[in-house]
Amino acid sequence: MTEALAASEHHHVAPTGFIRKYIFSLDHKVIGIQYFFLALLSVLVGMVLSWLIRIHLIWPALHIWGLSHLSAVGAPGGVMTPEYYLSLLTLHGTIMVFFVLTTAPQAAFGNFILPIQIGAEDMAFPWLNMMSFWTTFVALMVLLATFFVGDGPPISGWTAYPPLSAIADSGPGQNMGQNLWIISIAIFCLGSLIGSLNFIATTLDLRAKGLTLSRMPITCWAWLTTAILSLLSFSVLFGAGILLLLDRVGGTSFFVPAGLMVNDKMQPHSGGSPLLWQHLFWFFGHPEVYIAIVPGVGVISHILPAFTRKPILGYRVIIGCMTLIGFLSFMVWGHHMFLSGMSPYSGLFFSIPTLAISFPAAILTLNWIGSIFGGRLRFTTAMMFCLGFVSVFVTGGLSGIFLAQPSLDVYLHATYFVVGHFHMVMGVAAIFGMFAGTYYWYPKMFGRMLNETIGKIHFWLTFVGVYLIFMPMHFLGLAGNVRRYSAFTDDYLIRLIPLHRFMTISALATGAVQFLFLFNLFWSFWKGKKASDNPWEATSLEWTVPSPPPFDNFAGKHPVVYHGPNEYGVAGDKDYIMQDSPETVSSLN
């Protein structure tokens, strides 16, 4: 990138004021970093909540310092009430699912990387991009406000099933807390819809010359798939949220059945269907799982070849499987409702496509393993998180096959088996994808390398830690341990407490390890080794520009693409060909 080029008339002006540059920025890179830190803040809050949840399960009478200041009603004298346990559980789930798993993989990395990978100056609609971030920010603030209003956050869980969630006097937090929860989620839906609109338009319309769809990095395909899923599912959740809010404040009866007694009071509703909410919610809720995991799948498939130095196995197959998983995700929502009273025949209808998802998922896994096989592996931290991703993806995926069968789900439904399953595949796998992405793209985002030694310690402790936390949950589930209980006073559960204690200690330790990552993140920002343009010797367009990239990404140049992203292991003095390099591939090693 020569200075002369940068000064050409194509160069578009960078804002100079602090507010336009860092706060209300239109630059996709700044917005990506804003999303990144929003998710980082959220994940810290969510993690502390999970600590409080785990601590309460083992030491229910423990005085927790500061908790009484947060809620005098929910934790009198610092001792959590069972209801407050549910409040914290609700916010843990909501924050993690919406503000971490939906935000970081797609909105943070996607925003920063996608336009550069496709050779564009910015997202298609920069102003909408800014709006989507600030809408999401407002949603987070409204959600966190539930801690401080009335009697705390709602107790109805992140799924907010009516009638509990539709009746204001059904418990603490169910009045103002639940209202704010619905409003927060509705605002979040709007932000997410605007964001996904931008992603789809950008990917379809702004690709560089020569960058056909079949030359796009798999990450771009993943972000495109995810954006389509978001677009079609968040609009439904938005509608469902409006109906629920109307049931609460408008006196309608969409979800509340007739003759419902709550706290000895007859509810003035008639004839609504609580199942209707479950259908609408899970129509969103299942694609949501893939909104969290598909970007991870893309990131892994994109990063692996850079560290195996050979093309990814089955580039088109991976893209096909990813989009197929996305398509199938709209046909399986009923597997969350096998025991809801829905017809057993529809159980079968939803079970078959659910099991069918294991085919593309297995093909993905085999492709990754095949990509590693015979490669010249470079064990960077990013690579290790990729391998860790494959491991937890398989572990979490396998337990899904059990849950997909209605007859087995009769036993396993609402037990810790389910908790273990979705934490492993939706939580840990997605977070490993984010870690891989962070270690891989941090040099591009901030211009410095993350410390590899700290990174590897972080990886190993986290990798072992997540298995110690979540594997025992499967055994608890098989032993009949029901989820959402705040204490295990029933005699058949008392014997499981030692296992719970083991998990709590593992969770505290693994959580503490994450501060290593946090330290690495901030320390490297000032003290890390300066990153070159292409520290990983990778092929895609983001590595052709300086680290960090200039304001308009390509300094006024219009990149032209000649290759797919998979030209690794070629003969020559360097073993890869950049996507914008006009040289032809002579022969593969």
């Binding site: 194509h10 338009a201 379809l204 702004l206 010359k209 677009l231 509608g239 309608t252 609504g272």
Partner: protein, 234 residues
């Protein structure tokens, strides 16, 4: 799309909105005439893409409402469908008429692009503005008519919470009304920015009108659909 020649300005503006697919980048020459630094501009065809994507989200919202309506109706036997106010049919006529006037405005814009003389182009401009104002007025009439329908219903003692049927009536009309208000805001933008955009970037104006009309016609069709599911007794 080919080149567009605007008499009066005598500026040749190349519209590259064609060529979707093959990965044509969004670096279009709008505003590049000057020597100063250029602000990143969204290419015109991307506005169309964006509009269709946005509409698919809106479609999903109303699909969700429709399926909720079907399920709720079957869930219990408390569905009591009231006679809807006749003014709704007048409103429908207003809205369909507004779609026609909007199309006339687009036709005027096409004439403007082809016009050879100053008089011809001045006429086309006048017709364009007139049709746009008419569309706006008809849209406002529709909203006012919808409010009047609400008024008549509440006067008859039918409120949001009276019956699931009325709940859905208020919900769907409100949701549609809010979206149509968005369309009115877009039309106001076209009216008030018409002079500026027309003289600066005619290609952009045509895109803006095209995109607004896609949205407006969609809202028109959506209303006809809603009217059918709200009035038909099934």
């Amino acid at each position: 799309m080919s080149t567009v020649l605007i008499p009066g300005e005598l500026t040749k503006v190349k519209d590259i909105s064609g060529g979707n697919g093959g990965g044509v980048n969004g670096h279009h020459p709008d505003g590049e005439g000057g020597s100063g630094p250029r602000r990143w501009r969204t290419p015109p065809r991307t506005y169309r893409t964006g509009m269709w994507i946005g509409l698919s989200a809106i479609l999903m919202l109303f699909a969700a409402f429709t399926s909720a309506m079907v399920v709720r109706k079957g869930a219990s036997n408390d569905w009591d469908q009231a006679q809807l106010p006749a003014i709704l049919y007048w409103n429908t006529a207003f809205l369909i008429a507004s779609s026609i006037t909007l199309e006339l405005a687009r036709a005027a814009l096409r004439t403007l692009a082809r016009s050879q003389s100053l008089i011809e182009s001045a006429r086309a401009r006048g017709r364009y503005r007139g049709c746009l104002y008419a569309t706006l007025m008809l849209g406002v009439c529709f909203i006012a008519g919808q409010l009047l329908a609400w008024n008549q219903l509440t006067a008859a003692g039918i409120f949001l919470e009276t019956n699931p049927s009325s709940s859905f009536f208020y919900l769907l009309t409100a949701a549609h009304g809010v979206h149509l208000l968005g369309g009115i805001v877009a039309l106001l933008y076209l009216v008030f920015h018409v002079r500026k955009t027309l003289s600066e970037t005619p290609g952009l104006l045509r895109t803006a009108v095209d995109v607004a009309s896609i949205y407006w016609h969609f809202m028109d069709g959506l209303w006809v659909y809603l009217l059918v599911i709200l009035t038909v007794r099934w």
